[in-house]
Amino acid sequence: MTAIKLESNPPEIAKKTVAIIQITRIGDILQTCHAARLLKINHPEFETLLVARKQFVEPIRFIVDQTFDKVIELDFKSTINLTDGVKGSVKNILAQVEKINAHPISASINLSFSKTSTYLHSLIKSEHKLGPYYSQGHNKVIQDKWSQYLFSTVMRGDLNPFNLVDLFSNIVGVNKKSTHLSTEEYSKKNKNNILLHPFASQGKKMWQESKWTEVIFKLLKDNKDLNIHIAGSRQDEESYNKIINNPILENFKNKIHPMLGLPISDLYQKVDESFLFIGHDSMVSHLLSFKNVKSLTISLGTVRPQETAPYALNNYVLSPKTKCFPCFPDTKCDFYQCHADISYQAVINMATQLLGSNTISKEILKKDISAFHLNSINIDKTTVNKVGQLTFSNVIDDEKSAKSIFKDFYQIIWSYNFSELDLNLDTPKFNRETTALLKASVKSIETLYELSEFGKKYTRYILEEISNNSPNLTLIKEHSTKIDEIDRLLDVLAQADGLLGPAVDFAKVAKSNLHGDNIVKLTESAFYVYQEISTVSSILYDFMNSLGVVTSSKEANTKSVRTNI
């Protein structure tokens, strides 16, 4: 009787909880929401829990609550205080962590990659951990390949071919085929409103005010029905006044509407299909990507355009071709050449086209803008490839640069290597200058291959020595010294040819996260890292061969590496 009763009323199975840690700023939380939305579509059976800082998550709860089942707001500001002292504050922190651990977490995923989030992740009790955390012995651990890749590449250079949302989704592990990035246009063909966000968190990422004044003046002069709404925080007021109080805008004041300090939810509600968004890479552009408001993002300074482009289709990103762009937060810069390389004439032309047609025509740009202004910029349109990754399609240049070609190669390699995603990309067109750069890189690829093969050889020697009845410790030490030398040479190689930086950087992070708890397993794991880099270099070589840039320099180069080791 009891058995029959149980069968007819099966016990409800508790949903597995996936906790995502994102304790950085609003823009990062919004990008995390895109990835979490994909997780929900792919795995509705999981309960999703967001761990975020109160000050950043509170203003965007209206988006977050649509994506996550539960949200835990961490309030570090009130937790750490002088009244409670150090011991009391530690207790307060543990009490906050306890709120997270009250949930039975199957997997915790740290998408913040800061030291603080790494410590926090160490305190979270979960069956599986993805993304960085500290072991009990205080070693940083990053187990999964996509997190290792993210850690090794983001903010190191401009050769990362993935948008941050796609990287987050890859770490979370979702299939993106036909599940996101609607191809439908949200914005009307003819728009009579512009939401302008001419501010950024750093001066490097922000155009000077006078340029924005020119853009506003020309757009309002040429478009009688146009209204420009300027969004920003209360701290942007000084900059706002500099833009607006210019005498040339005197007759247009009734067409300019300040929206400084407006709650984010109100801003989101106000911006409808009659709006075009123009601004720097910021939280606002990520916010509007949830509606797919037509946007033109101007990337400057430290911004990696493809990495942080708003995650929506058929939008445009304008960036300079300046050699030092993108730079790093600690790079000193007095002149801001990348700001000068983007002309306000180009921005006005692009904005005018988008206001009236939702697209930017290369022909119109070439007709209306001088070659001098066009040659110094990249205009990219966001598209999606067959595996659902957000990609850039260059609007004005048919010929690709060496960096762009390598980015494509890396996109194919990493997608297959880490997720077995098969990508087919068209054979790129390139000019003589790029041919010379690619030819120079062939030699570096050969060196990378040789070095990784030497790495395999010496790790194998160590394994063979350990397997002997009486291992010779002096020999093991000698082989290990050789491996250190190989790693140093890999660093030198990456410095000499930046195009190979991503492969070397990934090897470095993977080698610092070897699997195993004894010397045999760790050495085996090191062997596989060298094997992986050897494969990467072989594929890169094959790609270069298919482009017709490989000459018969391999033999000579191989010899030179061998004499160095």
Partner: protein, 48 residues
């Protein structure tokens, strides 16, 4: 904010961080409280 209290907090924090470092050197393992202290130090560092 009282600067004397801030100074005392800073000194206590440094003292406790030293204790954690010593304990890590001796035992090779960190406790939950140690991680919470390191987390707090990292938050304060981030916020300047």
């Amino acid at each position: 904010m009282n600067s004397d209290n801030t100074e005392a907090f800073k000194n206590d924090l440094l003292k406790d961080l030293n204790t954690v470092q010593k304990s890590l050197n001796e035992k090779g393992l960190l406790t939950e409280e140690d991680f919470a202290l390191l987390l707090m130090s990292s938050i304060l560092e981030e916020e300047g």
